[in-house]
């Protein structure tokens, strides 16, 4: 061991410093491992990067804000520069938020940057998850990383919610009041949870301080931890890649970290920062001085929660006022409990469990590193869109009053329509999406078999007009024919020869998912199509997708 330190003698000062560090921490092996590691390139892989960078910007701007924010709910009378609020009774938290906005140079910019980054963070996490879902990137070996991602989404919502409540303005106070109402609806322990959370009766003088600790310490620490686990697993698995010529399940095709990917990804951080700065410079968000300090009596009509809370608020609005009953002197209010928990519970359970559900139905236990084009997994794409529609209906319901006033329709009618769409929308979304996927697959098939339409019309000697089709080159052709199309896998008997009920359910789900399918073009078919083209173009029957 002792000899190894002497074999290499660096010549420059930088070299000496580098060598010093290297011989203490083993940097060479890290450089060897990561310096030229390959990452595939695709625009849709950027959502995850946007999420990561928004979070970094949140940490930077948030740290600045903590130097000036005071989470105390003690009463004070405003004596700052904003004239309309002079002398008004308010909490110290609200006053310090006003001071950050009006008296700290750059404070308003930091507040707006922080808030906009938070919206961007949740949005990019959501889009990233949709990308992963629709391309099947959650399949083996990445199921656990999908779960970590789901946890990160929940943590992102928690971070957003705890932050939203800090300024102690009218909006955040009313938001807290709604949360308090929902908590009180929990059977058995709801009242106690509410009393513990608020340190007594709502609103109390503790809640802002408590949420502050969660917001600046606990939640971000958990997010950082989860991000570390998330990225570690990305390194272990290597990144997925889209299908295409030269790309297989056993390789990764892309650019090396150094220099191209590091430059692109590193540069992209500054791009994200710059775009968020443009937004924060130009678009006002949460002008708390317009709303005033929290007071349990007033409320402004037409206010909206931050976008990512909207769907839960919308679910609360959609529920009809039924389901409150008293048994043995105890009140159960399903009118609050059901919309607050059921849709979120359903959505998150399906989200967490989906990799296992799909594996169970398809019995596909192989590793997948090549992504699916969404059209080539019509059932999954359909389910995903059904989920999006389900979410969006609730989200729209959170703005039902604004829809009514902007489009001059009755508020009640908007609610009735959305209630119907809550149930029908996902079903319609599934059917329409799956049909579109199948249609796109058939279009791909046609292009693979017969080439690209050139738009050039030729008149044959015997008078017939035909459109000339240009055959695809090998690379484009491979892109269209190289995919898997799972088939129906009927219920299988187990070793004892019985078909269990769960297996029957699996069989019928498999039928439901894969009954309608388009098979990839085979070589034989392509050859047949080509020889067919050589002959005179004869009228042919229409190809059909196999259907029920």
């Amino acid at each position: 061991m002792s000899a190894s330190t002497d074999t290499y003698v660096p010549k420059t000062r930088v070299g000496r410093i580098t060598n010093f560090v290297d011989t203490r921490v083993g940097g060479s092996s890290i450089v060897k491992e990561f310096g030229r590691k390959i990452f595939p390139d695709h625009w849709s892989f950027m959502f995850g990067e946007v999420a990561l960078y928004s979070f970094v910007i949140l940490l930077l701007s948030g740290t600045f804000l903590t130097f000036f924010f005071d989470p105390s709910m003690a009463e004070t009378h405003y004596d700052g520069v904003y004239v309309p609020l002079k002398g008004v009774e308010m909490s110290v938290a609200y006053q310090s938020t006003l001071d950050i906005s009006f008296e700290i140079r750059g404070g308003l910019f930091m507040r707006q940057l922080h808030h906009w980054s938070a919206l961007m963070f949740v949005a990019s996490v959501s889009f990233h998850m949709l990308r992963v879902f629709f391309t099947g990137a959650f399949r083996r070996p990445r199921e656990l990383n999908w779960v970590v991602g789901c946890v990160l989404l929940i943590l992102a919502l928690a971070a957003g919610f705890t932050g939203y409540s800090l300024p102690d303005d009218l909006l955040s106070g009313n938001g807290l009041r709604i949360i308090d109402g929902v908590i009180k609806g929990i059977p058995l322990v709801g009242t106690y949870i509410s009393l513990l959370l608020f340190g007594g009766e709502f609103p109390g003088t503790d809640i802002v301080g408590r949420l502050y600790v969660l917001h600046i310490l606990l939640v971000p620490a958990l997010i950082l931890l989860m991000i570390a686990v998330h990225l570690f697993m990305v390194v272990v698995h290597k990144h997925t890649q889209y299908p295409g010529p030269g790309r297989s399940e056993s390789n990764v095709v892309g650019f090396p970290i150094g220099p191209v990917y590091a430059a692109k990804a590193g540069g992209f951080f500054f791009v994200v920062f710059g775009i968020l700065a443009v937004i924060a410079a130009n678009f006002q968000i949460l002008a708390i001085w317009d709303y005033g300090p929290y007071d349990p009596s007033p409320v402004s009509a037409g206010t909206q929660p931050d976008w990512y809370i909207g769907w839960v608020d919308g679910a609360l609005r959609l529920m009809p006022g039924v389901g409150e009953f008293v048994i043995f002197g105890r009140t159960i209010s399903l009118n609050v409990l059901l919309p607050a928990l059921a849709p979120a519970g359903l959505l998150f359970t399906l989200m967490f469990a989906w990799p296992w559900i799909e594996r169970w139905v398809t019995k596909d236990h192989r590793e997948h590193h090549i992504l699916d084009r969404p059209r080539n997994a019509p059932f999954r794409t359909g389910i995903g869109v059904a989920g999006i529609v389900f979410y969006s209906v609730m989200w729209a319901a959170a703005s039902s009053d604004l829809i009514a006033t902007h489009f001059h329709v009755s508020l009640n009618d908007v609610t009735y329509w959305l209630r119907a769409l809550f149930f029908l929308g996902p079903i319609l979304g599934f059917i329409v999406t799956r049909r579109i996927c199948l249609a796109l697959q058939r279009k791909d098939r046609e292009i693979a078999l017969h080439g690209r339409e050139t738009g050039r019309i030729v008149r044959l000697p015997h008078g017939e007009f035909i459109e000339v089709h240009e055959p695809l080159n090998d690379y484009k052709l491979y892109r269209l024919v190289n995919f898997e199309s799972p088939e129906v896998l009927p219920a299988q008997p187990n070793k004892a020869g019985h078909i269990k009920r769960s297996e029957k359910l699996r069989g019928s789900l498999s039928r439901f998912f894969f009954e309608d399918r388009v098979a990839p073009v085979t070589r034989a078919e392509l050859e047949a199509a080509h020889s067919h083209h050589a002959e005179v173009e004869a009228p042919a029957e229409k190809a059909e997708v196999s259907g029920r």
Partner: protein
């Protein structure tokens, strides 16, 4: 395009046929040939790209200067316009500083750095050899610790571990000193407490309340109360006057209104928002948060939306001087339902 198909649906191949072999699959043609970029072929294009990157970096420098111009050059006064202008300058300065660097680096990577795609092999997440070694190590660890051979140690450790978590939960009990749900039943209202205007606290004469008018009301003495916000969160009331003929008064509530003047809790029975909107000609109260609608003529019964029970009514009368007073507290808890509400 469908016209170009061949054969019937059952033989066209569009229909799935079982047992497609790998022989029928297409050969991977490999990576497409690299297409050189302009900067790869033309030295002038390369120079131009280099200049563009440098210009973008200079834009970033200008952005940083702009930030400091805004920071030191704009004096905040008490007008929103100045604040907005400074926010704009600082923001756009930062934006140019960041975008200049970001776009510059990305442009550099895309035009001047090599764009040859490289192929790297994947490796198994876990090799069988590693698994066997790990299994052996874990077996040895378990064996040397003796945990599987000594269930008494194992079980008492599990028991101790589970119990040791409980104090970490129990210690949070004092998050709230007062845990009696009964506090939710009572408000500041009591017999003889005057109805006063929110937020000024001036008392209201019955004669001030004309038909069709509505008042936001707090109990007298609220502004001086020790726990002002907590009391206000339960005690706020809406006061309205209707033609007494329009009120459908249920038995037992005949003396709760005064000449058609009625008072109802302003706290929505859904999740507790203030029911702030009064539609005078329909006599409906609307909660702006979740659109629960209450009909004033039917003792604030829910007629639309997610709330499940009527707004509690505050029994009122007038005192000797003609001011409106409560004759008792609410007869039921105000606000959202809770387990102990009954």
């Amino acid at each position: 395009m469908g016209d170009h198909s061949h054969g019937s649906p059952s033989t066209s191949g569009t229909v799935a046929t079982a047992g497609q072999s790998d022989v029928e699959k297409f050969q991977d043609p490999g990576l497409p040939p690299h297409r050189p970029r302009r900067a790869d072929k033309d030295p002038r294009a390369e120079k131009r790209a280099e200049r563009q990157v440098a210009i973008l970096f200079v834009i970033s420098i200008i952005g940083t200067v702009l930030f400091f111009v805004g920071y030191f050059g704009i004096r905040l006064d008490d007008t929103i316009a100045t604040l907005r202008f400074q926010n704009f300058t600082l923001g756009m300065g930062t934006a140019f500083a960041m975008l200049g660097i970001g776009v510059g680096i990305v442009h550099w990577a895309k035009t001047l750095m090599p764009d040859h795609e490289i192929v790297e092999e994947r490796h198994e997440v876990r090799t069988e050899e590693d698994r066997r070694d790990a299994e052996q190590i874990i077996g040895q660890v378990l064996d040397e610790s003796g945990i599987s051979r000594r269930p008494l140690i194992r079980n008492t450790l599990i028991g101790a571990g589970v119990l040791a978590i409980l104090p970490a939960i129990g210690i949070f009990r004092d998050l709230s000193k007062d845990m009696n749900p009964e506090v939710l039943r009572h408000t500041m209202w009591d017999a003889g407490v005057r109805l006063t205007r929110d937020p000024s606290g001036t008392p209201i004469k019955a004669s001030d309340v004309t038909i069709g008018s509505a008042f936001h009301v707090i109990p007298e003495g609220l502004n001086e109360a020790e726990h002002k916000l907590e009391e206000k969160a339960k005690a706020v009331v809406l006061l309205m006057r209707l033609n007494p003929d329009e009120l459908n008064v249920s038995p037992g509530r005949e003396d709760w209104n005064y000449n058609g003047i009625v008072a109802y809790s302003k706290i929505c029975t859904h999740v507790g928002c203030p029911v702030a909107l009064y539609e005078q000609h329909t006599h409906h109260l609307l909660c702006p948060c979740h659109q629960s609608t209450f009909d004033l003529t039917q003792e604030c019964k829910v007629i639309f939306g997610p709330a499940a029970h009527a707004l509690p009514q505050l029994p009122i009368s007038v005192d000797d001087e003609g001011y409106l007073v409560a004759t008792s507290d609410f007869h039921e808890p105000v606000g959202p339902s809770y387990w102990e509400r009954g």
